[in-house]
Every structure is written in structure tokens, then in C-alpha cells.
Amino acid sequence: MEDKFIILDGAMGTMLQAAGLPVGQSPEVWNVTDPEKVAAVHRQYVDAGTRLVCSNTFGANRHKLAGCGYSSAELIAAGIQLAKKAVGPGVKVALDVGPIGQLLAPLGTLSFEEAYDIFKEMVTAGETAGADLVFFETMSDLYELKAGVLAAKENTHLPVWASMTFESSGRTFLGTTVPAMALTLEALSVDAMGFNCSLGPAELMPLVEELARWTDKPIILKPNAGLPDPATGKYHMTAIDFAKAMAPAAELGVGAVGGCCGTTPDFIRATADIFQDKTPAVRSKADRRGVCSAARTVELDGVRVIGERINPTGKKRFQQALREGDMDYILARAVEQQDGGADILDVNVGLPGLDEPAMMAKVVRAVQSVSDLPVQIDSSDPAAVEAGLRAVNGRAIVNSVNGERAVLDAILPLCKKYGAAVVGLTMDKNGIPPTAEDRFAIAERILDAALGYGIPKEDVYIDCLTLTVSAQQDQAAETLKAVRMVREELGLHTVLGVSNISFGLPAREHVTVSFLTQALAAGLDLPILNPNQAAVMDAVAAYRVLSGEDKDSAAYIERFAAAQETKTVSAPEADMTLDTAIAKGMKAETAALTEKALDAMGEMDVVNSLLIPALDKVGDRYERGEIFLPQLINAANAACEGFEAVKKRIARRGGETVSRGKIILATVQGDIHDIGKNIVRVVLENYGYTVIDLGRDVAPEAVVEAAIKEDARLVGLSALMTTTVPAMEKTIQALRASGHDCKVMVGGAVLTEEYAMAIGADYYSRDAKQSADIARLVLG
């Protein structure tokens, strides 16, 4: 930006409503029908001192404009052209882009790619029409904003400004924090960032102050005219009060000022009066940095644990889950690692025969839907790395590059483009050097290459590589030495996969913990490990006390105070049966008893003569009203542990998955309430059926396609709302029209037996238990 403040404009919608636009009508339509009225607003702002106006295109996206008779491109072209004509030379015109008005998955149903496409249509139209820059405003979803920024960066040459709307809590409606916004938008190389809408100027000042510590980019500030009167929705702040409240922004290093809801040309005039003679304060350099998801930032100012469990290498059960698309199994690994104390989650989905880029994007998105930990994209395939970086919400780490030039040249540009940090392995095409000095030399080479691509030093993390001590005993010391050198001489963060050290030894934990402790002392701050191994995490907790990171040992005390309270694991009673264990929902006992049974009986016998009958008994009690839904599910979950034991046994001998038959489940198109369907899935799976869960908001064609592809004899459809039951009927018709031979069961709060029959279903399922009965009837 320049040495002067850029004076922006104020509200557009409010002004147009004052000029006669009915509430609820798209203001953008006036770009074509009443261009003079829109131009008049631009001129009023320019007269008041505005030097950069936002076009009347905030909601000109194809989703919001549906049914208005004009296309996004038409209204944008008209809006930019009329603004350029109205403001004359010397005043810039920004293409104003607001939220699409529909939430992205997982909260809503819009996909990232669709959002990208909607924004692409807008920004290309804006550039063609002559906009000077793209200005994303009033965003509350960082992920949606990422789609927009990428669309603008990849399809236009325009500068990109991005501004989000925050609550006084310091979060957006979707939970994004100021640091996460700063890190993510920096990573995407926007040209300016800041705040608009949300609150009044005074309430936004603390957020501006915080933002300045996380970014060196110019800061934009466009507050509302205070807080609205709830009863009328009107703002009462005066222009003078607004301008006075804006004044502190000059000292905080803001570069562009204007107003949002409730502000008028008077507000801008008063603000311009204050700001036009001032020079923006020179900010001290941002002093905070880290990686983040949308809601959580991890600063690297202490030991940060990277969880290693989302990785199929050497894990039969995980491989099976990846091959079968069993997302829940993978997500459970994410949740348990977060519960175990991980700070960052490594995501590795490399498996021969699998489409790694597609799977990487899918798993990264799924993981971020249940965990707010930042992620580390773990792959050596550039396509998978890029797919992961695109899919990630926040700022990620890439694991990894090494000293090979070809690898550096393939991966580093991606890290630069998406602003990711990168892990460099101290090896090259000659393998892992045996001496610390040679590994250090590779680390230097990697750092140089990264700097050459414009990646800042603090984003380069070095992995000096752990070798198995039982095989190469002298190497443990070399690794530790290399860690110390990289840390002390290069000042870089270091990464180390710790668990590998003890491979092949008995009582591995002792060796792992001892190595970890020494490595931490040598300067390791990003250990990659299994956070569900208590001894390892205990060592990290202890180290944090000794290093002073854990102030007053508070976290340590809390960890072990809590541990003592819960240390009452009851030993399973000797005479407990599988029946009782399942009925009481006791998972560990069910698993143990199943294991025992598997020693004496075949897998299918255990399923058919033990697990299923036990579940049936629980089901009968549920039907008699003796137990309720949570207990039914608990029992089913316990049985699941039994099935897991069976599956593991089969996986170990490489056999076929045990299944009583395939069932397709889907929540119908337009419906997002999927807990009912998920309950049915859990129960059916725990009855031994293979469930292909298509998720929610599933189009009829997708159900038909899956039913045919999987050759499923039973399809279950769920709809919760009266408005989505027609989609259920459409899906049934599509299934019938396809000629695929299958039965359809339907369920959902607003359905009745009668209604189910009327829309052509074969079965009405009152609850999860009944769906299992129907499955047995159809599939046996």
C-alpha cells in the first residue's frame, strides 16, 4: 500500500434501500435495471473522500442470483462498468465479493470445488470488466475464503484483498480465530487482509491489534456503525462518533479504512477528515507464527507432538479401512490422537493401487471435520501433496522433501504456492549419510533450496532421521548429534519419527522413551509419535516441566491428578459371558471374550452363534421398552469390538471380510440431518452387514449408481424433514426405473408406515432395531 491511508466506501445495501430497493430483493439487479441509482451512491462516496469503491456485486454469485433472471457475469460486468464510469480517474474500483450464502461441507453441503467454481465465474467476469482488484468481504468461513482466494489467484492477475467478520469473542461465526485467518491468508499470499462488518470500530480495535502481531500485510478496517437496535435492525451511531472511534486504527498500522452496515457518505467524510492528513504508522514486524486449522493455531514455541497414527504402513486394519473407504475407522484414529494430546496430525494414505491424491483430499477433509488440529500432509507424490494442500483448511506442513534436487524442485514450489511449512529429510539419492556432519550438510542444502523458492527459514523443519538401534547401534548418537547441530547452527525446528528407534527390541517403550528424552534435550521440538502411548506422552509432559514450557507444572499436575482418579479399571469377572458383556456395552470385555472364542471356534461360528444372538437379546429388550436407544447402541458398539476382533483375525490370515450382505444407506438429497441414518449404520454394521454409507444430501442418481455398482440388495433411505420426503420418493422411483433388483427401506421422523408405502418403499423402518430386522428378512 501507499504512504497514505486508502479511504474506502461505506454501506451499499443500506443506501440502495433508502433509494427505494425493497428489503429482500437482490441489490445487484439494479446494476442493470437502475444503474443510475447505484452510480449515484458511488459518486456520493467519492465526493465524501473514498478513493477505492467496492462494486455493487457483493451477492452477485449464481447461488444467490438463482431465479432473478440475470447471470452472475452480467450483473458483475454491469456493476464494474457503471462504477468505473461513476468514479472517474484516480479512484479505484474493487470487485466486491461476499459469501456465497450457503455453507461448505461439513457444516453445509456445498463442496470446496463448487465454491471455487462459483467464485471463478465472478472474478473472471470482474477482471474482464476492468476491476482493479478483488475484495472478498464479510467472510466467516475461512475455507470458503480459501476457495475464493485460490479462484482469484489462479484465474486472474488482480490483487486480492480479504476481510472477515468477527464476533467480540475474537472468532468468526464458524470459529475462525484471528491468528488462523492471518496465517492462512498469508499462506495464500493475499495482498491485504482485515475486518469488516461484525461490530463497531471500538469493538474491533483489539482484533486489529492482535492481527498486526501475526501478519505484515496491510490491514483493512471497515466496521459497522456500532451495534444495531435489535427490535428495528437500525444503527444509531453518529458519523462523528464513528470517525472518532476509528482514529486509534491509525496508530495500530491499519492501511485502509471505511465502513460497513449502517455507515453512509457522512461517516466516510468524517473518517476521511481524520485520516487523510495522517500517515499510516510503521508497524513492527509480526512476531508470531505457526501452523493452524481454521479454529486452532499451534505456535512452535515448545514441544509439539505430531500424531503418526493416520498411516497405513504396516497396519493391516488401516489398509483395509482405506481400501473399503471406511472413513469412520480413520476418523476414530484422528479423534483418539487429539484426545491423547497430539498437537498436529500427520496424514498418510499411501497404499499401492489406491488413487492417492483423491484419497488424500478426502481424508484431510474428513479429518478436519472431526478435529481442529492442524495437519501434516505426508506423501512423496507431488499430486497427492497438492491435493492435500488444496483440501486443507488452515496452514499445513508438508512431509516431506529430501536433499535430491528433483524432489526439491517438485515439492517446494507447492509449499510456496500454498504457504505450507516443509519437512526436509537429511538424505538424498545416496541414502542416509552415516555421520551427523553429512546429514547437516544435506539440511543446509534443503534450507538453501527452500529459501531459493521464497520459503522463509522458519517454515523449514529438518528431520535428521531415526534409524533402528537394534540394527545400527552407532546411529542413535549420530542422529542426536545432527539434531543438535541443525538446531543450534541453523536455528531450524526439527522433526523426528521417534518410535522407529526401538523396532525389533522387546519392551520397546523403554528405548523409545529414553531416545525421545535425549532427542528433546538435543533440540527436537516436533516429535512424530503415537500419542496414545501413555509412557511416551508422559515423557513429553515431564520434559515440558523441565524445559519451563509448562508454567508452574500446571499441565503436568492436571495430567496426573486426572490419571489417578480414573485408575480404577475393574478386572473382567471370570464368569462373564459374551451375552453379558454385550448387553452391558462393555467393549474391552467383549473384545477379550471374542478373542477367546475365536481360539476355539471358526470366525463365522463366533459371529452367528455368539455375537448375533447376543445382539438379538438386547434388541428384544429394546422392543419391550426395557432399555432405550443409547443402551441399544452401546450394546451394538460393544458387539462391534467383537466384530473388530473377528475382522482382525481374518485380516491377519489374509482372508475375505466377513459380511452378511451389502446395504446402501443414504440421507436423501436436500437433507443434512444424518444422525438417524448414522445410528442405523452403526447398528447394521454391528449386526455384521457391510454398509456402504453414501452420506447426506445424496442425489438419486448417486444412490442408483452405488446400488448397481455394489450390487446391493437392500437400500436404506433417510429423510428427516417434510420438505425432503419428495426427494426420497424421487430416489425410489429412480431405483425402480434403473431395473436394479433391490428392496428399499425408509425411515425418518416425519414418515409413517402409510406414507412409506405411498411413496413406493418396500419397508418402513421405525427405528434402528427394525432396520436390522428388515435386513435379516431381505439378506438373511
Binding site: 425493497p22 428489503v23 429482500g24 447461488h63 450464502g101 450457503q102 455453507l103 461439513p106 457444516l107 453445509g108 453441503t109 464479510t138 467478520t165 472468532r171 468468526t172 461465526f173 464458524l174 470459529g175 462488518c197 435489535p230 427490535a231 428495528t232 435492525g233 452496515c261 469412520d328 476414530a332 484422528a334 479423534v335 483418539e336 471435520s369 472431526v370 478435529s371 456395552g585 421398552g625 432399555i627 432405550f628 436407544l629 443409547p630 443402551q631 441399544l632 447402541i633 451394538a636 458398539n637 438429497q669 436436500g670 443434512i672 440431518h673 444422525i675 448414522n678 445410528i679 452403526v682 444430501d697 424433514m721 417434510t722 420438505t723 425432503t724 426427494a727 421422523a749 416425519v750 409413517t752
Partner: protein, 222 residues
Amino acid sequence: MEPRLTGIDRREALRYLGVRGDKPPADVAASLDKWEAALLKTARPRAVWRLFDLAPDGTLAGTAFRPAGEDIRRHLAGCGRVVLMAATLGAEADGLLRRTQVEDMAQAVILDAAAGAAIENVCDNLCADLAAEMAPAFLTGRFSPGYGDMPLEQQGEMCRVLDTARRIGVGLTPGGLMTPMKSVTALIGVADTPREKGEGGCKNCAQYENCGIRKAGGSCGR
């Protein structure tokens, strides 16, 4: 008038769970306590409301929104004004529910019921505040799209009039459902004279045909 979540009504949550009788199983009761605490910590309740004059043709003055159906017309009979409101537990509650579904579906079911009771609590608190603010005028109960013959589709119009996306972060899917999921829109009549409570009763409810409580001779008391 800050929107607030103060606790959950156990009876209501148990009803959502389909637990019959007065004494819930101890583990279910304990889980409800746990999820109440979690929601109090995690949810970020928000609400927006506006007061409108009711035009003679039933539209809300200054907007193009006209609540449809006989039932809402009856509900607002004798009211000169109407409060349009929307409330939500926020995206975090949806996130907690997603995460819990992965961890433990039985707990997720209980959390879902607790969250349902929680959003009702937020609405109840808001209504109590509104009643105090509007006194000496009287408020009717809440009436939401989907009750009786008021079409659920009008939820979208209500969100647009209240500008919920910008004000409280409540958006709509293409199918017209609200996100985050634990969100409510409602109309409340404002009258100068007290109204009889429970007018219309169960028959106003979209669940009339399905309702297990009604079939068992009870009422949810709404």
C-alpha cells in the same frame, strides 16, 4: 439482552431420546449431565430478533414476508405486532456432534437430545427477556415453520428478513434447511391483552400424526 444457554431440561431431553417413565437409566442420566456441561462450555448461542407491525393482510410491515397457513393466522389473532426470531447453538455444537458420532454413537444420540433441549433453552431465555422487554404487552408462544400447516419452506424467508447469515451465522442449504443444524426460527405474537395458553395445542404440531407422547395420552406441553 444477551442470548444465553443456562441449562437443559432433562425431561425434554429424555423425551427426545424416547425414554419412557420418570426414572431414566443411571448411565443415561449421567451422560446428560456430562453433555449439558460440554454444551455450556462449547456452544456459542446467538440470537437475532426484530419487532414488526402486523399489516391487515398478515404481512410483516416493511417486508414482503407473509406467514402462510390457517394455524399461524389463528396463533397471531388479536396481535398487532409480531416478533420474528432466530437462534442457534453455533457451528461448534454441530462440530461436537460430528466428533462424538465418530467416537461413540450412543453418546452422540444423548448429545443430540441434549443439544435439542439446549436450543430450546436458548429460545426460552430469549422469550423470557422479550416478555420483560415488551411488558405490559403479552407474548404468545413460539410458532415455527413446520408447525401445523405453516410450510417449512418459509424458514428461508424468515432467515432472509432477519439477515441471519450476517447477524448470527445461520445459513440455508439449497433445500432450505438451516445450518448450523441446532438452529430455530419462530414467530411470537405481541398482544395488548393476555391470550389463552396452549391454544390450538397438539393439532398445530407437524408431528401430530406421529407423536408417541400424544398417542400415549400425554403432551409435550409446548
